[in-house]
Symmetry: C2
Subunit: 492 residues, 2 copies
């Protein structure tokens, strides 16, 4: 099936909107009557919503899943083009990410991962282009440069951040951590700038912007420390956890498992292509109204609507002040992720940074397509933002400029997350002060409405893991309320 989401360009076909994905659900509706009352309405079919839906239906509750798009996966989905999976959003997973790995293990998909990097043949180098110079170096030198910069960046406590964030799944465990949420990445870079070589600084800054896809000024230093802690307080841990391991078949082969399992319970109804207009909690039940005027009611509602679009839905009673403020501030990630198929087989082992002058700043060889082309994935962000479909020649040039002379572009594939009205951005990344002021508010319930999103997860916030963490939490909360069971006192 072809989703409305995503874009593809080839020299032959030009630009076309919509790409195929096994995450597209057809028929898009499975519902008995339009006025049924459900135990739970789950809004959103990304990993948070899929997890909540699955857990609740397994527990025997009658769930209606309402999704604005024509597909599952939210900000993580893959497109199969020419029998090759292009990851349109969230991609990489790791066994140190507990919630996602538990699911990979549970669905027996442990051996369905592969490494993005393959340095076994070809150019096997790192190309660092800055305003001043272009350097070609080994991947070992690449590691050394970035590790040196990063370690200086995070080492605020003489213990590589371990004293500030000793429990990565409890980032505010040490009260002093809040101080670092007052700082931007720019603030911290300025503190250590005199100790960095130009290449170290360009490498560090582009890595930071690869994480946040904001600007250095709008990136919370604390959230970077939090990522670092989650990754085991090491550069190698960061590389392994953030950008190394992906599904051979693409993210949608994973997401569909949740959906199929929920469907198999016989407890799942769903409506796709149904953006939500308003949600009204009347105390005894919650009523959801779609833009096209359908109404559904449930005893509880799980909203997985992302932070950046939560204010596009009308809530009655209205959301609390702190949550509303957080939503209006929003997170800062405006990632531009562009896949390119290029003819050079040798570029499979290439990595590159072109910063800060280029419209894309970070790229790696990510695979080889069935036709023998090399698949390159490139990232840009808000620091030098483009809408890749608006000027496809500019986008193509930005790819070419990552490695001049070596990027013979045969195909481009991308999703414009910034213009996507159902996400208005990519994975969550916090600006300064948002977390320390608003994390609790973002996590709080609102009457019969429970909010679940990776955007306010505790652990791997902004990751697929965080979405599953949150879907799990929402299901536990709702299940505990709708299926209370007396337990003999002796067990409590």
């Amino acid at each position: 099936m072809t989703s409305r989401d995503g874009f593809q360009w080839t020299p032959e076909t030009g630009l076309a909107q919509g790409v195929p994905s096994i995450g597209v659900i057809s028929p898009p509706t499975k519902i008995s009557t339009s006025s049924a009352t459900y135990d739970v309405i789950v809004v959103g079919g990304g990993y948070a919503g899929l997890t909540a839906t699955r857990d609740l239906t397994i527990a025997g509750l009658r769930v209606l899943l309402v999704e604005a798009r024509d597909r599952i996966g939210g900000r993580s989905w893959s497109s199969n083009i020419g029998d090759y999976p292009f990851e349109m959003g969230g991609t990489w997973v790791h066994w140190g990410q507990p919630h996602v790995w538990r699911e990979i293990s549970r669905y027996n998909m442990r051996t369905e991962l592969e490494e993005s990097f393959d340095f076994s043949r070809g150019v096997n180098h790192f190309q660092l282009r800055t305003t001043q110079s272009t350097s070609i170096m080994s991947h070992e030198e690449e590691d050394n440069i970035l590790a040196a910069g990063l370690e200086r960046f995070v080492n605020v406590d003489g213990a590589m951040g371990r004293k500030i964030i000793p429990f990565p799944h409890d980032a505010f465990h040490v009260p002093e951590a809040r101080r670092y949420d007052e700082m931007s990445a720019q603030d911290r870079v300025s503190e250590i700038a005199s100790s960095l070589t130009p290449n170290e600084r360009a490498s560090l800054e582009s890595f930071i912007l690869l994480c946040s896809c904001g600007t250095l000024e709008t990136t919370s230093f604390l959230e970077l420390l939090h990522w670092w802690a989650l990754c085991g307080y090491s550069y190698r841990g960061c590389m392994a956890s953030l950008i190394s391991y992906k599904f051979k078949g693409g993210q949608s082969t994973f997401a569909i498992k949740f959906f199929i399992e929920a469907l198999a319970t016989g407890k799942l109804s769903y409506v796709f292509n149904s953006p939500v207009s308003s949600i009204s909690d009347r105390g005894d039940k919650v009523t959801l109204t779609t833009r096209d005027g359908h109404q559904y009611t449930g005893a509880r509602l799980v909203s997985t609507i992302p932070l950046n679009v939560l204010n596009s839905v009308s809530f009655d009673p209205p959301l609390g002040t702190q949550r509303a403020t957080a939503t209006n501030i929003g997170h800062v990630n405006q990632c531009v992720k562009v896949h390119a198929e290029i003819s050079s087989k040798d570029m499979r082992s290439w990595t590159g940074v072109s910063y800060p002058f280029n419209k894309l700043m970070y790229g790696i060889g990510d695979g080889t397509t069935p036709s023998g082309n090399t698949h390159i994935v490139c990232f840009g962000g808000f620091n030098n933002h483009i809408h890749p479909e608006e000027d496809i020649n500019e986008t193509k040039k930005a790819v070419e400029s990552m490695a001049p002379g070596n990027m013979d572009v045969k195909r481009l594939v991308f999703h414009n997350w910034s213009k996507d009205e159902f996400s208005k951005g990519a994975w969550f990344f916090s600006p300064p002060r948002l977390l320390s002021t608003s994390l609790d508010a973002m996590r709080a319930r609102h009457g019969n409405i429970v909010f679940a999103s990776s955007d306010w997860a505790i652990g791997w916030r902004g990751f697929i893991d965080g979405a599953i963490e949150e879907g799990t939490r929402a299901a536990m909360t709702v299940k505990g309320e709708l299926q209370p069971a007396p337990v003999p006192r002796s067990y409590l």
Copy 2:
């Protein structure tokens, strides 16, 4: 409630068998009729059995849990003595252990962990006693010595084991890994012995034996490489993952969550104090007979009986040859774990190795009891084996000899895992060749019987995480068979 398991000694009371635990289930039986047929019989109430039981009852299946002991938890349980939790078996957990951490997150127990080590005050040193000498050094020196030895030990590929085990949750991903299962820890120590100082060697060997609690000759080198890979290929990762973080309230506060959740479904029956005599699979159903002659039948049976005692139960049809062989070989872990309360507050920050002459070899300050005593935990193994209750003075001396003059023992607490007829050993640790020949056979089903134990987990084998991994797998398998649901072809 007081369990029959465990021992306690104080100068005032002498030795007494049985210690209190919130893991003891009372009343010990909840069952409607003795001849009911269940969907699933789960044998064993450790984490594998608890996980399978919980997941299956949540899915609406009628489960009978049959447990030989008077308590849940299997090889992981805590005793509350004087309002302080002594961990009788499996203790430490980490957020890099995906299955256990998912549960900790799901039960909202993330902030109920604490660190075992506290180097903030007191002696703050490492005491290394070998046959040749006694050294007192800083914990930093302790780290350096062990890290140096360990890194040489695991570095078989010039990449710290990363090339041999690139996927820790798929240890045989690289075929060459099998070669290292042919080797014992002794074989590998011999290869690198000339490069080790006496202190490095004693520190390395005692650490290896702390992991396996066998002998160097009976410890698979591959399984140590596997642990190393799981711990992120680093010494710091090992310390963090293996021996740092525990539940403030003890393991049984965690295990009981699974039991209560299963009970709350209304689908759970259980019989404690019911050792199994035989299990017979008649094709359409499985019949279990207890030692006291009760019979129970189910459509499926999940056996979590540990490897080392699987041959104490009669199976009809008999177990396959390879599984039977593996069971008769068994794993090698004969851990002797002895808790001591001592009067010195300063010893809270002590760690020590006394090796190879002492009956206990490894100890750390693990807490401060409500009465202000320091809690020390000591480990021994099969290399110098004792049954701690048989000669309590010898046991006390072995504790005292860890730090002569500083161990004023006020209380001893322990569980004799070697004599425990329901485990015959502690956590799984593989001898050479067992995994490469028998892991698949140990994991295989046997008609309507599914086998689930951390002993043959894929990832954190031998850990609580592995038990949950396996309980999850068993529940998925059984659920998929007993609740098959047609799924529209378009989703497959």
